[in-house]
Chain length 658, copies 2
Amino acid sequence: MISRYSFGKPFETEALVVKIEATEGKLPFFRTDGEGNYYYDFDDKDIVYGLGEQIRGINKRGWTYTSWNLDNPHHHEDTHSLYGAHNFLLVDGKELFGVFFDFPGKITFDIGYTKRNEMHVYADRNDMNVYIITGDNKKDIVNQFRVAIGQSYLAPFWAFGYGQSKWGYITEDDVRRVAEEYAKLGTPLDSIYLDIDYMQDFKDFTVNPERFSDLKKLAESMKEQGIHLVPIIDAGVKIEDGYDVYEEGVANNYFCKNEEGKDFVGAVWPGKVHFPDFLQPEARSWFGEKYGELTKLGIDGFWNDMNEPAIFYSEESLSEAIDAVASLKGKNIGLSEYFSTMGTIQGLSSNPKYYDQFYHNVNGQMVRHSDIHNLFGMNMTRAANEALCKLEPEKRTLFFSRASFIGAHRYGGIWQGDNLSWWSHILQGMQQLPALNMAGFIYIGSDTGGFGADTTEDLMLRWIQFALFTPLFRNHSALGTREQELYQFDSCKAMTEMVKIRYALIPYLYSEYLKAVINNDMMFKPLSFEFDDEESKCVEDQLLIGNELMIAPIYKQNASGRYVYLPEDMMLIRMRKYDDYETEQMTKGHHYIKVALDELVFFVRKDKAIPFAKPAKSTSELDLNSLGRLGYEGAKYEMYMDDGINPDVSATLKRVEI
Amino acid sequence: MISRYSFGKPFETEALVVKIEATEGKLPFFRTDGEGNYYYDFDDKDIVYGLGEQIRGINKRGWTYTSWNLDNPHHHEDTHSLYGAHNFLLVDGKELFGVFFDFPGKITFDIGYTKRNEMHVYADRNDMNVYIITGDNKKDIVNQFRVAIGQSYLAPFWAFGYGQSKWGYITEDDVRRVAEEYAKLGTPLDSIYLDIDYMQDFKDFTVNPERFSDLKKLAESMKEQGIHLVPIIDAGVKIEDGYDVYEEGVANNYFCKNEEGKDFVGAVWPGKVHFPDFLQPEARSWFGEKYGELTKLGIDGFWNDMNEPAIFYSEESLSEAIDAVASLKGKNIGLSEYFSTMGTIQGLSSNPKYYDQFYHNVNGQMVRHSDIHNLFGMNMTRAANEALCKLEPEKRTLFFSRASFIGAHRYGGIWQGDNLSWWSHILQGMQQLPALNMAGFIYIGSDTGGFGADTTEDLMLRWIQFALFTPLFRNHSALGTREQELYQFDSCKAMTEMVKIRYALIPYLYSEYLKAVINNDMMFKPLSFEFDDEESKCVEDQLLIGNELMIAPIYKQNASGRYVYLPEDMMLIRMRKYDDYETEQMTKGHHYIKVALDELVFFVRKDKAIPFAKPAKSTSELDLNSLGRLGYEGAKYEMYMDDGINPDVSATLKRVEI
């Protein structure tokens, strides 16, 4: 059961698709002071799940988290905000309930940081809807919430293939070379991503004519090889006379305004930009239709970036910082002066004050950006999705975004933002998956191998062995870091075998993805969502995938094995190639398993089986009509299949027992 | 057997205390190109131990490490350099050998980063001694190396007590309050540390007369409570007319010079400073004697900080950076210009180029600092130690340093530098311990609870449960972070019980410390140093302490237990208070053990026992004459004891069988 409690004057975030009448009476479970402080007292063993894309463990106890979409590429253990804002929590212990704080501005969750046995939630303003969800069990509560927030975005089948990306593919030759090298190596590949360099001066919906002389031709030739090109779209629109997007936006008041009613100026990749006011339906339609410039060229997938929105500096702040530094000239500078000035410089990027300086036009009312900050990226993806549903109604377009809020899950997937080539970020990425599923995001994945910092060969292999289970399986890295296409490594063959195994698993993964979307279910679950024992509640580094699999990836350097907890008897699969593997019956309990660097290990749950395909060089060539099986003999599996294209999933959905 | 291979014109680092004649003939194990590149080809299962204070695991394979003493308070997985430079490695696998690259400048160890199965070592110049050590086993090789580098510094007994520190004790009242609060709580305490604020304007060997009106009286009143005050000493000497240290240093040419022969100017806490030329024996004597200003006031312990040396900026670089920023004023700034200028600002701190800009006077020769950079901090601690041995010959003075090189271990301990309140830094600190022991550093420990970032209550408890086993057991945190004296937390009583257990363990820990120092042995060992099985080689999160104990700390948030590998039958000790514990016989193999947040768990090795004291409020009150025992019945333990004061350990050493 879902109940809504309304405080102050909530902003309509459109997170929910159903209208729930506000309940009179006291908010259950929490103590409130009427001034926006919500307290919950924990028992020692209470567990808190949720918060979507956040740092730390599956159990969120012991830290403070702030929902504030933030460009935070160097995040670590003491970060408080990442790219997304997903204010849904599930408390399990002396009480069992879900709670969604439907608030589009900054809201903080002190989950036992200040006081170990107290959760304290507080927002900038106490204008919010708080939804309390009770139910039979954790899955039931999540399912009710998911129904209320509406069906998740449905990605095309080809988006389950392997993708290669890098900030640093500058020319179409770079792109062709990626395709060639992978073809030479025999690695399956379904997509190559275009980061910011394909554009002319980082202008959205433009293509640099020298470096990409004929994008249409390039897209066609790639498509012939089964490869989709997926360009990036940034939130900021370059200020440049003659640039149609800029001029139309200005002419129609489609950009966010500053206090004086002028178009707000920030600086991002193109230099000075205006930000589309994605909260205006007209601005959304207008901006969304621009994606058509690229779909006309054969593009059928996009990633929306920098849409927190990231702001490197504002004109005013940069000018102030320059003045502050310049004033030091010739002075004998005291240390406090020095550090304060350095702090000013370092604080330029995405400084919170910028978000107080611009406004959205919401039904004629000017709404300060910081009051609805976390809705910005969501509505950018919505703009794209809604327009493409009109422009290309016959097929699914791939969308995923960096910034998000609950509600965005209806319009696209997300990638888990700019991460680092750190071993700890394998685990961090994995721990976010169930929490993202709870918030409705099913088409998800982290930058495989790590985006920032230099990867290593073993990190790459181990990361692949985890990421091959995630819907979005993309190798992506930053400019200036070690090149990490698989063919850069001595063990590229072992890596390729892992990618082939991914393709063999696609029938299962895609089927479980469809189930999660259609049935408002979770694709990735903590063990404790299926098993009641005390041990399962403590497991932070294993996940259930669908109803059949459990994964326990290696995420430590030089590890030649790991401990695994089996909440029931399971079958271990030890796989070097899709057709070179052993199985082993393992009993419920704790185990240490050895796992060589070129081996994938995963588990089939008791009396379950999964479909298993012969790999192909792209998803389009996968033969779904002659599937093998992995798992227990005699076990049945209900496979969901569709054509992977039709936006109306029910039109082609088949449920096949295999 | 140790053999020396000499390349080019090595600088005499004084790392070794014995003279080993250079061996003619080819360097074994490595391929060399005569130009300073050293290659070693790994087998898949080879393990590399060593490198002292560095990031990543006990097994160093898979990353690139650069020995370059660096102020790096925000270090993480992709860091390359920390505060110390410890160029000793032990390779175990198809071959077994130790190697010490005796080179005082920048030297890089690519241990399977570029190519997984190759180690590539290279330095700025190929002027170095390479020592190859072969032996019967790992311990034997380490022992031979340790003999060659000379006996490790001997800390006073009181330095094994618990210490409280914080950057932010501004007045003597702050110090008194710490003592009072701990006394109230009943927490044992042996030391309170004075960070930079006790000084007048951050001038070494001065005391601010307003905030610390009578340090002598304060020290006396603390000593009456069993508490030693331990002030910080920084490397840079403030440029200020009338300040004796500055004026004497200038007058006697005791400071490092720039290219024109003028005293080099850098900026650190006091603003502009000169750096003492610690490579000059006269400068060392002079600076060392200054510590006497504080010992006269009753001080008997020091920590030497910022002695990499850290340099916030140089006059020239700051001026250039200011100009660069100022030149942006009024311009429409391109992104590359923006990022390059921001990079200039961010690159001011400890910029490598500074270290090319000053010189040491080595026997009349001007030696560029960067050529001997890693010897600077070592010789600061040497200055202090050598002077105090003359000034206070009858007793041991506590010294530990941030920067170090092998050789520094003879003059003081080290703390493991500015770390962070991160769970991963518990493990990181632990993984460094055996490598530091290999390099001769025995009096060691990390900032308990974490220095930078905000700690949490559970992090604090878990960190204490690990740190109570390390010789240096100090709670230290940075200005502006959460206050983390134990009395700041609800569970201060549980924390206090852990500190009491530390005191109960001191007879054992101090005995094992003495053994490690006297016998050139390791106090902390990876399991693989005692056990030959394959499993032991893989264990990265357990350590042997001396010959009797094994620790397996909890270093994950919300963990209520952990996996442990027992290489032999052992006795588990589960302790809530020093007199409230259970024991359990456990068999060799893998186990999952539950550990409540207020429980300490450790293991006594088969047929061993350790002495166990009744805790006291300080080490001076520990009754070492009526010790209890923990462990197997009938097991004998040889305890080393001395008076804990006499610098000549043999004068009071007793070996008692208990």
